[in-house]
């Protein structure tokens, strides 16, 4: 259930402790990248029915940004990792 998220730092917590920022699958463009690249990044979403990657900010806990992988249809959560660790992963 997406009502419970297991924070790697704090353990199982209710979703009310988090601010949810949405799509975490794409990296931020470089400052001088094209207008299209920035438009895509800021406004466009893949919005899948199924597995998705999202930023969840643990505001009422450790205040770390997390990347949560979950299913938007079943609400099943597959993994939760710290955003810094996620960013260090080689191929995204």
């Amino acid at each position: 259930m997406a009502s419970l998220i297991t924070c790697p730092h704090c353990g199982v917590r209710p979703k009310e402790e988090f601010a949810i920022r949405g799509d975490a699958s794409r990296g931020r463009p470089e400052p001088m990248d094209s207008d299209e690249a920035w438009h895509d990044y800021v406004y466009v979403r893949t919005n899948p029915r199924g597995r998705t990657l999202e930023h969840w900010h643990h505001i009422a806990g450790c205040r770390r940004f997390l990347v949560v992988e979950r299913d938007t249809a079943t609400h099943e959560v597959y993994s939760v990792v710290d955003a810094a660790e996620f960013a260090r992963r080689p191929a995204r």
């Binding site: 009310e16 979403r45 029915r49």
Partner: protein
């Protein structure tokens, strides 16, 4: 069959055995001038106005479930035009005017009830914001009234005026706003469209969009291939998935919104009341049940159900505003999937594909828009030209920097 006092009496006297179905159940033809994906309020009203106002008769509406199974039958039925931004207010007021003539136009009782919508304020800053909104409405010719605390106490005595954190100081009232029977809106438009020759095909899911030489030629469905001249998407919460079939990338996230109905009570709530301290809204249905909802669950979801923590939060907000609510039993709760756009406003536009048209991004406020959305979308499809009141609602507004951000929340759909 036209409905009238006479038809009512005649059918009653013949034992109610001679009523006709409200729309036909046709098999799909091989080709239509226009196919509309989605038999919700917006798809059906688009078909109705296409046939009636713009003379495009060879039209089909394809619905994967039964009519009214989507958000048109799941919303909390609030109809209002108390918006602030110049890109929104004329559009919603156009809708309000269509609502006011809808029953005569459709020859159908959609139970429009202009009981008044009142939005409460709890601080001086919020009061100022509502004064500003009221003035913005007046500038578009729409009446709004600021109701001060003492006057409000007489109108609505049962509110919690002395709440420690969110004392109720007054409210902004639009008297012409109110509610309508949501299913009847779908049925009335369906019957009207059918009478103008539109084929409404239920249990027909679109599974693919066929294109040749850069234009759409038809759709793959669970009832086989159906060809078309123009294709119009009106799929509400599933817009991204249908858009994907034509490689469209849209500024949308799908989110779930819950609603609740209590046991039937004697008439007690005369208006639609919106709680500005949170985001709670309540009215009483004609059957007596209290109908209410609040905010979206917060994370994107395609499940037509929400989670219990949000339900609890909704109840808390309700009881904060009306303490007496704590004694009432909730009978039913459900969720609907809506496409939340990046600025909280809808999109009615052409797409990069010449004969493919887009109607989406209604967020949780699209029921009130049903007549204007259908009218403007039909205008666009028939004339290839945007209706004047929908000019601000085009898809390229994000790229051009003209977002219509009523809440001022930026490009974060779960904050709108």
């Amino acid at each position: 069959m036209r409905y009238s006092a006479f038809s009512l009496v005649r059918n009653a006297l013949s034992g109610n055995l001679n009523w006709k179905p409200q729309w036909r159940q046709p098999q799909p033809k091989p080709h239509y001038d226009v196919i509309i994906i989605g038999g919700g309020g917006h798809g059906l009203s688009t078909a109705y106005y296409l046939a009636k106002e713009f003379g495009v008769k060879n039209v089909a509406v394809l619905e994967k479930g039964y009519l009214g199974s989507g958000n048109v039958g799941r919303n909390t039925t609030i109809v209002r035009s108390n918006y602030m931004l110049p890109g929104n207010e004329p559009f919603y007021e156009f809708s309000m005017k269509l609502w006011e003539g809808l029953e005569q136009d459709l020859n159908y009782n959609v139970m429009l009830s202009q009981r008044g919508v009142i939005m409460l304020y709890h601080s001086d800053a919020q009061r100022d914001a509502y004064v500003r909104r009221g003035n913005a409405m007046w500038m578009e010719g729409v009446a709004a009234e600021l109701i001060e605390r003492e006057q409000l106490k007489k109108m609505i005595p049962f509110l919690n005026y002395d709440h420690a954190r969110y004392p109720i100081l007054g409210g902004l009232l639009q008297r012409r706003a109110g509610t309508a029977r949501h299913d009847a809106v779908a049925w009335g438009y369906a019957r009207g469209a059918d009478r103008h020759g539109v084929d409404i095909i239920e249990h027909c899911e679109v599974t693919g969009i066929r294109r040749e030489n850069g234009v759409v030629t038809g759709v793959e469905t669970t009832k086989g291939f159906i060809g078309c001249g123009k294709l119009a998407l009106a799929a509400a919460g599933n817009s991204s998935r249908v858009g994907e079939m034509a490689d469209l990338k849209l500024p949308l996230e799908s989110h779930v919104l819950q609603a609740f109905v209590t046991e039937g009570l004697k008439p007690c709530i005369d208006h639609v009341i919106v709680y500005g301290g949170g985001h709670f809204y309540i009215s009483q249905s004609d059957k007596g049940g209290l109908v209410f909802g609040a905010e979206i669950d917060g994370y994107s979801s395609y499940a037509q159900r929400g989670n219990l923590a949000t339900a609890e939060h909704v109840m808390e907000e309700g009881v904060t505003m009306i303490p007496g609510l704590s004694r009432v039993r909730v009978l039913r709760a459900w969720g609907g999937v809506m496409d939340m756009s990046m600025d909280g406003s809808p999109i009615i536009d052409r797409t990069s594909i010449d004969n493919l048209y887009l109607n989406c991004g209604w967020c949780y406020g699209g029921f009130k828009a049903t007549p204007a959305s259908g009218y403007c979308f039909a205008h666009l499809i028939a004339k290839n030209d945007t209706h004047p009141v929908a000019r601000a609602l085009r898809l390229d507004r994000f790229a051009r920097g003209y977002a219509v951000d009523e809440a001022g929340a930026g490009p974060q759909p779960n904050l709108h």
